[in-house]
């Protein structure tokens, strides 16, 4: 084979490969093939810890920390996973709101801290306990009232106490949650708000 012919063959092969094939998307770009979890890699956790002091949350914004979710209140342990409807058949109206996710915990277990406020017009007091319920009406988290919210009585007629704020925790980072206040009788609940994590 002459040198020219050899050059032509080699050159042709170099050109023909990509010319006819083109490059397809690599398989790892396909979301359907992903099996990974949302957990942060250690590299990211270290970076978050290293720069934690720089995170300056606004008053209503969420922050993310690498610590585990705090323990749920002892009284709620027996309720977690149970149906709200089964345990609390009575409903009552009350005032309130689910304001925001305050903290995201990325440790083990992971979860969220959610804040809001509530007011029972009958007893003229905040519902003492709060339950977080998923879209299957199963209890997923819990918290207590009594946090100071001085802005609420100023803004909402009929609310006479400033300690109507509540903080509740749930071991999940995604999905919908409803907040229900458990009234003083321990048998009645009233809806306070909803959030899609």
């Amino acid at each position: 084979m002459s040198l020219r012919l050899r050059l032509a063959v080699v050159g042709g092969a170099i050109l023909a490969g990509p010319l006819f094939a083109g490059c397809s998307d690599p398989i790892w770009r396909n979301p359907a093939t992903s099996r990974g979890a949302a957990a942060l890699t250690p590299a990211v956790q270290e970076a978050v810890v290293a720069r934690l002091a720089d995170l300056k949350p606004r008053s209503t914004s969420k922050i993310t920390v690498v610590q585990p979710l705090p323990s749920l209140p002892g009284w709620s342990q027996a309720l977690i996973g149970q149906s709200l409807k089964g345990l609390f058949p009575n409903r009552a109206p009350c005032l309130g709101n689910l304001d925001a996710v305050r903290v995201r915990y990325l440790g083990e277990p992971e979860g969220v801290a959610i804040v809001g406020w509530g007011w029972d017009p009958q007893t003229k007091a905040a519902p003492p306990r709060v339950l977080l319920v998923d879209d299957s009406s199963l209890i997923r988290g819990a918290g207590v009232s009594g946090a100071p919210r001085p802005n609420v009585p100023k803004a909402v007629p009929g609310v006479t106490s400033a300690k109507v704020g509540w903080v509740a925790h749930a071991p999940r980072l995604v999905g919908p949650l409803d907040a229900w206040g458990v009234l003083a009788d321990g048998k009645t609940v009233c809806q306070l708000g909803h959030i899609d994590l």
């Binding site: 949302a38 590299a43 914004s61 995201r104």
Partner: protein, 460 residues
Amino acid sequence: MPKSSSVTPGAPRWGLSAAYALAAALAVAWPVWPGLMSYDSLFAYQESRTGIETALWPPMHAYLFWLSDRLGGGPGGLLAFQAFLLFFGAAVSLNLLVRRRIWAVAGLAAFTVGFVAVPQLWGCSLVHWRDVVTASFAMGGLAAWLVAARYRAWPGLALAAASFGVAAALRYNAVFLIILVAPLMIWTPFLRPQEAARPRAATAALLALALGLAWASTQWRLPDLQPLPHPNNFAGTQEFDLIGISACADKVYLPPRVTDGWPITPRQIRMHYDPRHLQIAYEPRAGAPNIIETGAFGQVALVWPQAVREEFGCYLAHRTAVFVEQMGLARRDVFMPTYGAIDANPYGLALARPQAAAKVHAYITTRAPELWRRPFLLFLLAPVVVALLWWRKSPARLLFLALLGGAFVYPAVLFVAAPAADGRYIYPPLVVLAFSLSAGVAMLIESKTLRSAPSPAPRS
């Protein structure tokens, strides 16, 4: 000492070169007058009016807009100038490298056809992108150097250094285009085998001055010489890399701030990831939290080196995916071979001939994806021609090797640094490669015809 270098057996043929460049500049500028303008273009134009506020992009482009405005040309003036300079530089260079007019004309015809055959070349030329001006000044510098070599003219050498300096001042990575040309210029300023130390030292000083001024133009602004803020351009690339590495490794290497604190899964990161451009990842995706443009208080910069170390295979896979798009190797299409409009602006800038612009845009966008018109082919073909020049022992082989080297180093740097795969990013090397191909082939054919011609009778 011979009057001219054996590298430049031809002549500049000023009239022919100017006529060709005028015609080519007219063909480029007329349909899209006063030039297509994307966000980057309008930002540079804005800074030409309001003053330089940032060093995110080197300010030289804004200065050129300002100059064109002051001379009464507006943005269209700059478009016409950059197109003229590019084709004039190519024409003068080609006429100098090729002895006979007919082969020079053939080479120029091939160079012109290259712009139509590889629509990305034509498409980028229509837009006010700094990449285009970079290529224009690089070609202008090459022509000035070859003229200097032909006539052993110091002004030509100074003009070449100045032109390369302006090219280098237009993009932070532009200097890589001349990374081998500059040493060659210092080693052999007039492209002759033997060169004294003084011309070498003088050329080194000229280039050092030009490139030093180019660097200074990115550090201090005109006219008040106030220092410019550090551009920190690599932060975007680092965020792009973390998204790509996460998508490939099926793990989350994104600091929570990148998603505004919302948890994100690798599957959702893959939904966002697109190797064509970092900005595409910022677009909202149903069922996934938004990814935002942020350094996350330095967390991105902290995570990046560790992620690259831990997932080096995925880093390479991600960068390769970007490179595939960049070089036009993706099966689907080429990314941003041109820009279709002048973005909304408060300066009253609008296309003078929208219908003509639409026709040109339609040609480019429909033809550019065809595989045989892809830019990577120039990267494959040009080395073959340069190899043949070496095989034939062409006097210009070292020059072409230097041009080729710069054209390859340029995208090699983009491989690790590009936050996107816009077609325009490789426009300067594409122009150099198209020139090398057309000039190289013309020289090869000419040398063959000269060899086959009967030798003149020896003089008595």
